[in-house]
Amino acid sequence: MYFDSLAAALQMDGHGIYVWPVYALGVLIISALVALPRRRERQLLRRLAGDIRRQGGARASEEE
């Protein structure tokens, strides 16, 4: 650990105001990069499953 205290780590001799927001932005961007494709994948499969269920239901009612 380079810093003596948490306050010193946040302060970074006056540079904390530049360093911490950049890292916050980095975390935000990386989270989005990881989360968005997974969400898209999940939504696609869910929508498709719904379509197939509805088609199956329609076909079953035609056969009746």
């Binding site: 950049v22 890292y23 932005l25 980095g26 989005a32 999940r42 499953a49 197939i52």
Partner: protein, 248 residues
């Protein structure tokens, strides 16, 4: 060897294999990233000239390097899809663009914020910064161009050409600090000869660079998986996947 290429063109195979790679690569990458960030922020010693603001470099440099390397990968994928009409190369090209754009954006913003305490200004129109801004627009251009066409085959061709032409920009970015007078400092890590960095600062940087490469690979694979599902929504394997309820 040929059977590998044959499999590579098979969406269900690629979907399955990428799923089993991501299952371990993604958690390891995210853990390594968290560790690297803590290392960079709290453990590394302070730079005697720049002070603590230099810690931004541990995000800025990996993002910029991988954004440039990612452009090559996108352009090569575009070239393959253009020449050999490989569908999978087109999927890969499309998957690279948003990841590259996000990393370029991170490199630009982190560089600007670093510039304020270091150079006294957020932005200067010098060669390095302007050429990276062009890189950002090239990535956005590929994304926008893809969406602009209704005919996806035409879209794929146009994007491949744009990404190949844009490749000229990469060596310009790389060499800009040597070719033109620039505020931006030249590279501290060198493949040949000694790096001008102390190991206590160099190792976390190398760690972050490797981690960002892994992150790029993970994100491109995840984008490809979503794209494969969308394109194959009428095929048997995707419909089976949707009805099996095995949505991870």
């Amino acid at each position: 060897m040929w059977s590998f290429f044959h499999k590579l063109g098979s969406p269900p195979w690629l979907y399955r294999i990428s799923g089993s790679i991501l299952r371990w690569l993604l958690p390891i990458t995210l853990l390594a990233l968290a560790g690297g960030v803590l290392w960079a922020l709290l453990v590394t010693p302070v730079d005697f000239r720049q002070g603590n603001s230099y810690r931004i470099m541990y995000l800025h440099v990996p993002a910029a390097i991988v954004a440039m390397a990612g452009y090559y990968i996108m352009a090569i994928a575009g070239g393959i899809s253009l020449i050999w009409k490989m569908k999978m190369a087109d999927v890969a090209m499309k998957a690279c663009a948003p990841v590259g754009a996000a990393l370029t954006f991170l490199a630009l913003v982190s560089g600007a914020v670093w510039g304020k305490p270091t150079w006294g200004t957020y932005w200067v129109w010098d060669a390095r910064i302007t050429s990276v801004l062009i890189l950002f627009f090239l990535y956005l251009g590929v994304i926008a161009l893809y969406e602009a066409y209704d005919n996806k085959e035409a879209a794929s061709k146009a994007c491949a050409v744009l990404s190949l032409v844009g490749m000229v920009n990469i060596p310009i970015i790389y060499k800009s600090v040597d070719w033109w007078y620039s505020l931006h400092q030249p590279a501290s890590i060198k493949f040949t000869g000694n790096s001008t960095m102390d190991p206590s600062m160099l190792y976390p940087l190398l760690w972050m660079i490797v981690t960002f490469y892994a992150l790029f690979a993970c994100c491109v694979m995840m984008n490809m998986r979503a794209e494969l599902l969308e394109r194959g929504s009428r095929t048997r394997w995707v419909r089976d996947l949707a009805t099996s309820g095995e949505v991870r």
